[in-house]
Symmetry: D2
Subunit: 408 residues, 4 copies
């Protein structure tokens, strides 16, 4: 069996939950950067499925460069108007012409991409009229390929030095941040349909004090006037607060919450939108500038710069290693010990198989005592988990194609 | 009452049906130039209705510059693939910001335009998947206006020397040309769904011999192989021929018909498409380059260069006079004499009301005898018809907005 | 020798100069429709030269669908600002990949097109900063070809019924219309640099009275205030009038002239622009919607709908026959008789060589006496001129590629 | 004086130069992500200068969303061809209409942006013909403003929780990585003009072994055949290696170097390009996905996700704090101690002035001994440096506008 270069060591840092300051951010699914991420990943998944259907395996593509240029709107209480639709440009490349012997088979990559993008928008954003309030364009390079290549991640050799990083478990700050957005864009929508999908949650913990700052675009058609706006914001505040308490559970933490702090009722400044998405008016969006592949932006944790969404899941080491780092860390946290901080870093080795990285470093540190005597046991279990994932790297591809793992 | 400058004279030409050569062409509704015309006019109608709904009258706009850049496809028997969608750019301008006192009302002109265009495509071309096989973009200038202007054609003064021209009645060549396309894109569709909407009918009459040349894009999903293609073309040929005979009625004319003459079965050249529209592969389209507003291209008749589709129906003299010229000629043919050739030309007079042209010239010539004694009677009746239309110019606007007259 | 089907007959109409009403229009080189025509033709010429350089002959292309979407500007006396550049989209297709045996040679068609377009704009419009006041985009389909085809117009067979039409000589109205624009965009520029290139000349002759209406965009940087504007318009008026008199020569005609009639000094309405081109603010442009290939729009003459500019000069019958009709008519007017009205119509015959039309009809009528006794002589000379051109159809291609004939 | 919340503490990590693994990457100025960064920043600087010229201070804008969609090329030894230009879309927004009392002043923001972008490309990439090998488009939202706002960073209050991070001094790995790219795109260009500007330097240090992996696009016109390619790569290798040794100086480190490892001479795979930029063929680019504002990607260091390039330098805390963190760290390294690792993190405080962050944390750790006795002295000096920068935050704006600090 090939050498995996797995190293499990003690973590050379104070675990974050024990440090004084922690900052965590989540850009909700309606934030323009998240929309760009989502469309890139939806297109990649749709292309992967097209390739699997036609040839049994995924062919080369990267669709990780979606760009959103904001539109122009005139929201008003009771229902306003989109003046200029926002413009969404799908950018990337996809194998379009496949040589099978002397024949060339052409694939409908661009139509498939456009359809997947449109479908996601329609399904996800009920307050957006995709047919008239969006211009959807595509510049996808059309590559050629012949069917003699390697079509599994496990068969590829790294041709770049690339890097994946993940950690587990979530701190309480992480949990509340992600859970708050999921609550607003989930259960709360039925109760308060005026809450739009462009939600930004910023959590800043100083010691035991957690300050949650939520910005939530409100949808004008559901708000008849300023008075109703004010009372809806209060209602939203209370619902989010109650949910945050529930997420905190028995954790010893004080929560304070602000919703739409940039509002200024005296100056008639409200966070009011026509579609619940700030891309309608002035906010552009790009892939890879928002959440990392665990759904969060965590400046006090190791993070990868890599844009995970839209990359292909068979040759793109950056994507595969990022996703796998998180899967390994999660498994260690779940199966080995939930009472430690776990960091995983996987580094590729040029010219070697993807399953044989230069270095797969798992770092562990007990949250409780400094030098935990169980470390030796943890070490061997963690090694075995990491080995298992590296031996089954194609499973990562599968999870990605089937949308079973998050990319933003 | 204002002076109308209506002149009815004898026509100084041999009527076309009595001349040796006549050429008439009709680009069907699926031809890229016709698609461009249609989208321009649909957008203008939708905007007109938006303005009427909001303000009671049409505001300034011109949306007559739609451009279609062809896509790329790989048709094949049984069903092929769109590789690159065709790109449709709506171009023009529309009053978007309206000053009402100190307030500015913003209108959703671009969303309305996109929606109208999309709806037309969906409704008209069942073999085209508008969501994935078209990229629909828009560059519409957003003008401002205040509600102090003039909003009826009748209230406008011409600020340009412009020109409208029409004739009636249709010759038998005209009738068969238009009727052939309407037959293929109408009743024949149920019988032979393989016939696509991109149809071009070219009629060339030399004496009593009428040669009809029909090019009809076939839709690949309905044709399983070359044999079926061949037999469908034969079936199509026979159906068109029978219909042409019916259209000819008792007319003394010999018809010969060619369908898809560019096919070359030996070289496996077929007019096969995925969507029934040649814009899918290589054929671009523009407004105003196809049919005139009577539905035909008639190089042996007086024609206007003006692109009628997409122009606004309240200030654009070119559009209004072209449509009205045809309406007057038709009325004269129907109410005064069906046995004459009638030409109508209306010429604007800068600075004067639209209803007071410099010249509204009606020219008449009996098809039968050269100097028909009934001319004096015809003349007075024709004058009265022309006067009536010029007195009711706003009715032309209404007919246009409600889609009761053809523009291509 | 192949049959040419050349028919020379008497013209069955009163010659236009002897009729009461005549209307002629010229859209100057800065009008957005002319800019679109020019760019289409420049691109076609540049591609033709690229093909000739690489392969010795022109390959298939059509670049006749340039679209201009107007920009937005804020002109002011002394020099204003372009706020939003106008957008120019080159549309068409060009043979880009050429199979030479087993090799494929790829050509830089799009770069060559962009360069030709940019160069034309820079050279022609000194008041336009092409680098910042224009967005130049291109959607050119990239066709393939192998080097086994036919590369001369003379070798092609018509696969369509198409049509060319021309006339000669110019009436005095024609001459003055064209000459006026050429004067304004030529010698006058040095004297009055404030005159922009977007010039529209409309001539309407009623009997012996010729009314010239000129609209000329003025360039703001050369006009310091309203007073100077007024005096420049007067100066421009006088210069144009003097030139028109010169063009009229000894002709018995009264000329009246209006310049910028839409101005309203009391309401501070001036035809003021930043670049001298109305596309900077609200005026879109398309190919084939302006001047015919003699440089004029002549509603009282036979005209072709065909967009001549940007079509390829080896297979596109519409382009070749339109240009050739005018060349034949001009030759007859110059060599046979200058004192007649000459119409030429050439009609293709499907499946036959381009040099063997179905019909090349030359119609002649003396301007002087009704049935001129010299007709028999004229007839034989005109036949010989037409035969000569049809025998040398490749010379038409050459004239087009080298820019020796007008297309708009 | 306002409270600055500056905290100087010992760094709770082993300094990176003393750790076993270190990875550093630099995307050269010709990499598509760097091109996107550069154009965004050039546009922001040009707009800032426009605003300063017109109004004395910078107005609101953000132009940080440039997107590059790759083109298509056919490189070959001796000089190949660009087939399809790459497409560059400038995205963002800029204050375009400024209310001064009752007047509105419109600014040429889009023309200025286009000009700045074009100029940068022309000046920086001599092998790229910007006029024909690039399509430059812009979607910049046009905001309005009146001249009553706050126009200095120091006057703004943070309306977001944002974050800046920096470190100093550079490790030897950092120095060699950055210096290698600067050498290739600097002095080496004269010696070996075949080296293109798309250079990627990846450094991976394991203990004392530094592996440098350089990918350098070669420009085909300067390479006559495979033999010359091979020898040029060797020459390039040697030059880079010598330079790296020079950069390493007396440092105890072993350097190994690979250039263009993806080449495979047997299979005729070369890193050959027409323009020296991989965006010509398949590589898209986005803002904020490449180098951080110290010019490097350093996964083993604290990094900000923020896209610094193109953000406005007066209200965008993310940009200002990132740049300032680095300036503080550099100053501490230069003035206080060069023999320590210094991290700086600045965190905004919603609603408070930009100059009063919630937290400005400077962490220091001697590279030499673990608890350096000089720490107390360092601490007070570092506090004073940080205070000084926070008191002079407008100087950061000035440095950015004048291009005196790096953003990528």
């Amino acid at each position: 069996m090939a050498k995996k270069n797995i190293y499990v060591n003690g973590l050379n840092e104070v675990p974050l939950p024990k440090r004084k300051i922690e900052i965590v951010e989540r850009k909700g699914i309606g934030h323009p950067d998240s929309v760009a991420d989502a469309l890139s990943e939806e297109v990649s998944k749709a292309l992967s499925k097209l390739y699997i259907k036609e040839f049994g395996h995924v062919l080369h593509h990267n669709t990780d460069e979606t760009q959103i240029a904001a539109g122009c709107s005139a929201p008003k209480f009771g229902g306003g108007t989109i003046i200029d639709p926002s413009y969404i440009l799908l950018v990337g490349r996809a194998t379009t012409n496949v040589h099978e012997g002397k024949e060339i088979k052409s694939l409908p990559c661009k139509p498939v991409a456009l359809k997947a993008a449109r479908k996601y928008l329609q399904k996800t954003f009920p307050n957006l009229d995709v047919d008239s309030e969006i211009i959807l364009d595509a510049k996808l390079g059309m590559g050629s390929d012949d069917l003699t290549g390697v079509y599994k991640a496990s068969g590829h050799r790294a041709n770049d030095t690339s890097f994946g990083v993940g950690y587990a478990p979530f701190s309480i700050t992480d949990t509340i941040t992600l859970g708050t957005e999921e609550f607003i864009n989930g259960p709360l929508k039925k109760k308060i349909p005026a809450t739009g999908h462009d939600v930004k949650v910023m959590a800043s913990r100083v010691g035991k004090k957690l300050t949650l700052t939520v910005a939530c675009a409100m949808v004008d058609r559901y708000v008849k006037d300023a008075t109703e706006y004010k009372s809806l914001i209060e209602e939203t505040h209370d619902a989010i607060y109650d949910n945050a308490l529930k997420l905190a559970g028995s954790e010893d933490i004080q929560i304070s919450l602000d919703v739409n702090t940039a509002d200024d009722y005296k100056k008639k400044v409200y966070y009011l939108t026509v579609t619940g998405m700030s891309q309608e008016m002035g906010d552009d969006g790009s892939v890879g500038r928002g959440n990392r592949c665990n759904g969060l932006i965590t400046p006090y944790r190791p993070m990868s710069m890599e844009a995970t969404s839209g990359k292909n899941p068979i040759t793109h080491i950056g994507k595969i290693y990022n996703v796998m780092s998180k899967l390994i860390a999660d498994d260690v946290a779940r199966k080995v010990t939930g009472d430690a901080e776990i960091h995983v870093r996987i580094l590729s080795q040029i010219g070697k198989p993807v399953s044989e990285p230069l270095n797969c470093a798992v770092e562990l540190r007990s949250l409780g005592i400094d030098k935990d005597p169980k470390f030796a046991k943890w070490k061997s279990e963690a090694e075995s988990i990491a080995t298992d994932w590296l031996d089954n790297i194609d499973k990562v591809t599968e999870l990605i194609v089937n949308g079973k793992v998050r990319t933003f």
